[in-house]
Symmetry: C2
Subunit: 323 residues, 2 copies
């Protein structure tokens, strides 16, 4: 049995960190060990919350305040990040733990920066596995943060039980700036900065979004009143308890209707299919195949070979290779 399992199940954060590093590694032996480790872990009940919001909306401050509220209630909270842009920038969101200084020192919290990744597919798999590890380590609430870039919200919504959109107070005109697709996957829209001078504007923004949400078709399996919009202040803490109550109420409703388990089952099945496609395509990345594709691609580019014939040659070579 892997030496990491015991401390991991006991909730040891250092063991958790090491296990995640193993999962993020692309070394063959690390991957094998990670697979065996994951297969050996028991499933534990948890609530997976996706959180999206553009830069400047106060996402770190919100997570810091919200996370501490949860740990104050005795919950253990893991915070992960999905940042597809980190591959380009080389940086990572959550990379600077000082962004959530107090939460990161909280023994009941675990914060893991987004790894720099080349592919969104790889990010998805590793994040899903990291969630499993956090849950095995006894973190009942797993918060997955993402910046609103490209497909990352859909990706995060597809691995969480609830999806929260954090927005800033805005004029009615700016409402259109929120992509319809994102509005449609949000279970809860939280308008942050509902404090001081911005409080009235935040409340108006909440009303605007509440109106927009009413126009969207209600999703089957959701209780009356959801999706909904609420004002919060990450600075004063106002509205955070109410938001958490709503998250729990929605999760409970989905649990009792069977929707919760059905969503997780769907997510697991789709993740398997995505992993399958990813691993099949990864065969094209083997050095000998890459060389062949490069060679035949040059002939196709020069007009000396038809693309279908070139593809047939590569596929034949792949079939002839040992696994």
């Amino acid at each position: 049995m892997d030496e990491l399992i015991e401390p991991l199940l006991a909730g040891n954060r250092r063991a958790l960190s090491r296990a995640i590093t193993l999962i993020e590694s692309s070394r063959e032996d690390h991957r094998a060990r990670a697979s065996a480790l994951l297969a050996a872990l028991p499933a534990r009940a948890s609530l997976r919350i996706g959180l999206s919001g553009t830069p400047g909306v106060g996402k770190s401050t919100f997570i810091e305040a919200f996370g501490q509220m949860l740990t104050g209630e005795g919950a253990r909270v893991a915070v992960l990040a999905v940042d597809p842009s980190s591959a380009r920038s080389g940086g990572s969101i959550l990379g600077d733990k000082t962004r959530m200084e107090r939460l990161s020192r909280d023994p009941n919290a675990f914060i893991r920066p987004s790894p720099s990744q080349a592919q969104l597919g790889g990010v998805a798999r590793r994040t899903r596995e990291t969630v499993q590890l956090c849950e095995a380590a006894g973190f009942e609430v797993v918060l997955i943060e993402t910046v609103g870039v490209g497909q990352s919200e859909t990706l995060v919504a597809d691995m969480t039980d609830l999806f929260i959109l954090l927005l800033a107070p805005a004029g009615g005109d700016e409402l259109q700036g929120v992509k319809r697709g994102i509005m449609e996957i949000a279970d809860l829209i939280l308008v942050n900065k509902a404090d001081g001078d911005l409080e009235a504007q935040a409340r108006r923004t909440v009303a605007d979004y509440a109106g927009a949400l009413r126009l969207l078709r209600k999703r089957p399996g959701d209780p009356e009143g959801f999706p909904k919009a609420l004002p919060v202040s990450a600075v004063t803490g106002a509205g955070l308890a109410r938001a958490w109550e709503d998250m729990q109420a929605l999760a409970d409703w989905r649990r009792s209707s069977g929707e919760f388990e059905r969503r997780r089952a769907d997510q697991a099945r789709r993740a398997f299919e995505a992993e399958l496609r990813g691993r099949l395509l990864a065969r094209l990345e083997r050095p000998a195949i890459r060389a062949l594709v490069g060679d035949l691609g040059a002939q196709v580019a020069a007009g000396d070979l038809a693309a279908p014939d070139a593809a047939t040659q590569v596929l034949a070579r792949l079939s002839a290779e040992p696994e």
Copy 2:
């Protein structure tokens, strides 16, 4: 030799239609015949022009007028459409030939509606092959129309020599509504409806877009002044000759600099790689494999099997199967 080749090379439009239908078929024997046909066709010089514009901008009227101007100059013009939304709607753009009534009766024009398709990848391959067929049939100008939906512009830009964006006269504020990515791939922005009451507004819009284009980095390999914005009127025909001159000037510049051939070679290489990925993934669609994926997916969804182990089983089964 395929019986279609001779009439196709002679420019027979009925043979061209039949060859395209062959290419659009998913029947195995049709695919085999289509591949053989394509491999046997000679390459002929042509200019491939991508054209995008949102509904209401006057795209059909533009193509009708522009196409007739070209056939009037003795050119043979094929008009194709890429419409990723047709899979959902069941309809197709260009489906109603009455949209371009006169051009469709022109013996030197060929108009082919967008087929209803399930996958963007399939649309791309079939459109590329249709372009080859049209060129073999002696159409020197191939115009590929697309509605501005999702990734379709990028797809069309990646199979054409020039990319034209057709826009309506607009207030300065609306300029931001044009996605930056589309501005960046456009070689020429044509502001339509520069006639009657809208002429002044169209000219202001041209100035706005010209300013926006200057802010975008000039692409290497393009002559001074490109990308550029021009006013046109599909109704009066004003500006069409000027736009065609500019298209030819840019194409000539790219031909003499080698950029034209380099782009086509890159496009051919990328199309080959996309076809390769598509055919590799198509293995997962075989009935026996689909059944296995469904069965293992259910076990993964139920939590009885780890996704990596399920994926390994499918990949092993694929390797054991004959091609």
